[in-house]
Amino acid sequence: MLAYTIYISFFGALVVLLMPKGSRMAIRTVALLCAIAGFALALTAFVQHGTGELTTVALAPWIPSLGIHYHLAADGITLCLVLLTGVVAIAGVLFSWNIEQRVNEFFAFYLLLIGSVYGVFLSYDLFLLFVFYEIVIVPKYFLIAIWGSTRREYGAMKLAIYSFVGSAMVLVGLIAAYVVAGSHSMDLAALASYRYPLHFQMWAFPLVFTGFAILAGLWPFHTWAPTGHVAAPTAASMLLAGVVMKLGAYGCLRVAMTLFPLGLSSWGFHVLGFGSWRDVFAVLAVIGILYGALVALVQSDFKFVIGYSSVSHMGFILLGLMTLNQIGITGAVVQMISHGLLAGLLFGVVGRMLYDRTHTRELGKLGPMNLSRALPFATVTFVLAGMASMGLPGFSGFVAELMILIGAWRVSPLLAIGVGLGIVTGVAYVWRAMQKAFFAEATTIIDPHPPAPITLPEKLGTGLLLASSIAVGLYPQMVLRLIAPALNTPLFSGLHGGGW
C-alpha cells in the first residue's frame, strides 16, 4: 500500500495540471486531499508496522538485462521519514493556501516533488533511488524560479547546479559500485553485501558521501541552502528544509555508509590530525554546526536566520551519522524528523505568517511593527518552535540533540564540546531573532493597516507540525522502536563490522 503514496502524488500532479485555471479552490482541495491520502497511507504503515524489519513494498523487473528492478521496500527508518514527508506535505499545502498566480502549475510541481521524495525514501534499487533523487531537482527548481521572491532565479540556479553536481558524484560512485560488483544487480541489498576492495571503498565512499551530503548542507558546500531557502516560496522552503535536505542525509546513511563501510575505517596515516574520512566528515559537520549558528546570529534577514539555522541543524545529523554508534545514528534519524518538522514550522511563520502580511523580512523593520500584539498567534508559534529548535525538553529537538551529544561524547569529548557550543549558540540566535522581531521596544506607532489575521489553514498547519514535534518529544519510543531494529538489519552489517 505504501507504494501508493508515490502514485497518488504523481497522479494528483497530473490531475491538478489538467484542471481549469480559474478553479483555485478546487485545485487546492485536490492537492490537500492527495497530501492527506499520502499521510494516511504513511500513518497506517507506521502504526501497523510492529518492528523495524525490512518489508518489500513492490518488486517488478524494469530493465532485467542490466539487473535493474522496480523495487520499493520499507524499514523503520523509511517509515519514519515517509511519515515526516506526509506531515510536512499537508502543512505545506495549508501554508500555500494563498498562492494566487498559476495555481495549477504550482501544485502540480508541488505534488511531483512530494511524490519523488516518497520515491527516494522507498526505493531499494539504487537506479530507482537515483531516478527519484534527480527528479526532485526539477520541481524544486521551478517552484523557486517561478514563485520565489528575493533573487529567485539566482537562488534556483545555484540550488540546481549544486544538486546536479552532487548527484553526478553520486552517479559515478553508484555506477562504479555496480560495475565492480559485476554488473548483475542494482539492488541495494545485493550491492551492500558485496565486499568491495578497500582501496575502492576509500575513494568511492567520500565521493558518494559528499555527493549526498551536498544536498544535506554539508559545510563548505552548504551555500546553496540559505540562498535557496530565502528565494523559495514558503511551501517550497518548508519542503526544501523539511524533507529535501533529509534526502541527502538519508542517502549518506542508506547508500554511502552501507555500500562502502570500509571507507570509514582508518587510512593508516595521519594528515593534519585526520586519520580517516570519518574524522574529516565529523569535523566538517561540527564546523557546519558552529558556522551555521554563528552566521545565524548576525543575520538581519529573518529568513536567512532560519536558513543558516538549517545548516547548523543538518550538521547535527551528519555528525550523528559519523559517530558510528547506535545512539548517535539513531539520534541523527530522530534529528532528521525533528528538524523536518521544526524547519517547516519556522519557515511557515517567517515566510507565510510574517512576510506575506508585512512584506518585509528585515528584523529591524519587523520590530517596530509590534508584532506580539498584532499577530499573537504567529508570536506564540514562533516562540514554541524556537524553543523546540533550541532543544528544550518536551520537544523532538531535545531527544535528538541529546542522543547525538551522547554519541559524540563516546567518540571524542572534543566533538561533544563542539556540539555543546553549537547548542548554546542555537539558543542565542533564536533568542535574538525572537527579541528583535516580536518583542522589540514598541515605538507605539499604531499601524493604520493592521496585518490580516492568521487564517484557518495556517492554524491547522501549525497545529499539525507542532503536535508532531511534541509527540516525538514526549514519547520518543514511538520512533525509536522502529529505528533501532532497522539499524540492525543485515543491510548495516558491513557498517557494524567496519568502523562501528
Binding site: 527528479i135 529567485r152 548527484s167 553526478a168 555506477i175 562504479a176 554488473s183
Partner: protein
Amino acid sequence: MSTNLLALLPELVLTITGVLVMVLEPVIPAGKSRKPLGWLAILGSLLSGLAAFYQLQIVNAQGTLTAFYSTIQIDPFSIFFHLLIAAVVLVTLLGSLDYFESPITHAGEYFALVLFGAVGMMFMTSSVELLMVFIGLEISSISTYILAGFRKGRATASESSIKYFLLGSFATAFFLYGVALIYGATGSTSIGPIAAGLAITRTPTMAILAVAMVLIGLGFKVSAAPFHVWTPDVYQGAPAPVVGLMSTAPKAAAFAVLLRFLFNGTPMLHGHWILLIEILAVASMCLGNLGALKQHDVKRLLAYSSIAHAGYLLVAFTGTHQNAVAGACFYTATYAAMNVGAFLVLSQLSGFSERIRSIEDFTGLALKRPGMSALLGFFLLSLIGIPFTGGFFGKFYVFSGALQNGHVWLGIVGLANSGVACFYYLRLLAAIYSRPTSDSVAYIPVRKVTAPAAVALAATALATLGLGILPNKLVHLVERATPTTTAAVAVQPTQQ
C-alpha cells in the same frame, strides 16, 4: 528478389521517391502548393523504414546479408541505423511540411534533398568498403550543404551553407587521405581485409597516421572538438528542421562508420586510437559545455550542446566492443529523438522567418504558448539528463560501459560536465517559465500547429519518454547489434 536488391531496398525506395519528387516538381505549376510532393516524400521514407524492418525479419531468419561483392553488409547493426535514419527523416519531413510560409517554387527540391541525403547516410551505415562509405558520405554531405542554405534570400543562410561546405569538404579531404594511407598500409579498403592486413603490415606507423586522419575527417562530421568550429555558425543560419536533421542523422551515420572502422577494421590499433578518442571526448564535452554557457542565440546554444553530446557519445567508444556499440546506438537514438524534437519545437515557434531566436526572445513563452513550452522544456530536461527521459538512461548506459572498461576519469569528467551543462539549459528554461512575457513573444503571431507537425512532435516526445521509462526493448536490440566481420567479407577483393 535478388540479394543485391534486397540489401539495398531501403536506399532504393528512397532514391526512387527522391527522383520522382524531382521529376514531378516542374509539373506542378508555379504558385501552387508543393505539399503533395512532401506527402510523397513522407510516403517514401515510411516505405523505406518498412523495407528496413523487412530486412530485419530476413536477417533474423537467415543471418547477415551481403551484397555487391561483399561491399554491403546488412546486419542488425546497419538495420538499426537504417531504421533510425528513416525515422528521423520521416519526422523531419512531417515537421517541415508546413514550414514554408508561402508556397515557394522550389520546396520540392527540399523534400528530394532530404531523401537523397538519407540515402547517403544509409549507405554509410551498411557498407563495409571504405569506397562505398566515401560515396555515401559525399551524397549525404552534398545534400546537407544545400539544405543548410535553404532559406534563400537571407544572408545568414548562404553564409551557413558556405561555412558548412568549406569545412565539410576540408574534412572529406582528411578522410580520403586517411583511406589512401590505410590502403597503402594494408593493401585493401574493405573493413575485413584491413583488419587482416594490419596484422601483417610492414608500415604500422602509416596505419596509425591513417586512423588518425580518418578520425579527424569523421570528427569534423560529428562535430567533435577541436573540429567543431563550424557547428554553431552553421546551425544558427540553417533552417530549424534541417538543423534537427543534420545534427542527428548524418552524425549517427558517421558514428556507425567509426564504430565499424575502429572496432572491426582496426582492432589491432586499439591502444592507439583509444587515446585519440579519449582526447576528442574530453575536449568535446568540455568545450561544448563551456561554449554553450555564454550563448544567447538558442540555436547556437543547442549547437554547442550537440558538440557536448558528441563528446558523451565518444565516451561510449571507450567500452568493450559490445558495450561501445550498444551504448553508442542507444545514445544516438535518444539524442536523435530529443534533439529533433527540440528543433521541431523551435521551427514551429519561430517559423520560416525565425523571428524569435535569442534567449531574451523566449522570455515568458510559457504564458503564451504553454503546450509548446512544456514540450521544449521536456526536450531540454532530456538533454540535461533528467530521469524518465531517454537522455538520462542514455548517459547512464554510456558511462556504465566506460566505467566497466576502467575509464573512471572519463566517467567523472563526463558526469561533472553534465552537472555544468544544466546551467545553460536551465537558463533557457528560466527565461521561458519564470518571467513575464517579452515583447517579441507577445507580438509573434500564434501559428497553428498543423496535424503533421503535431504527429511529428508527439512522436519525438513519446520516443524520448519511452526510451527513458522503458528502455528495455531497445537495450535488448542494441546489445545484439555488435557487427561481426563475416567470413564472406574477409575474402581478398580479387573478384574484380
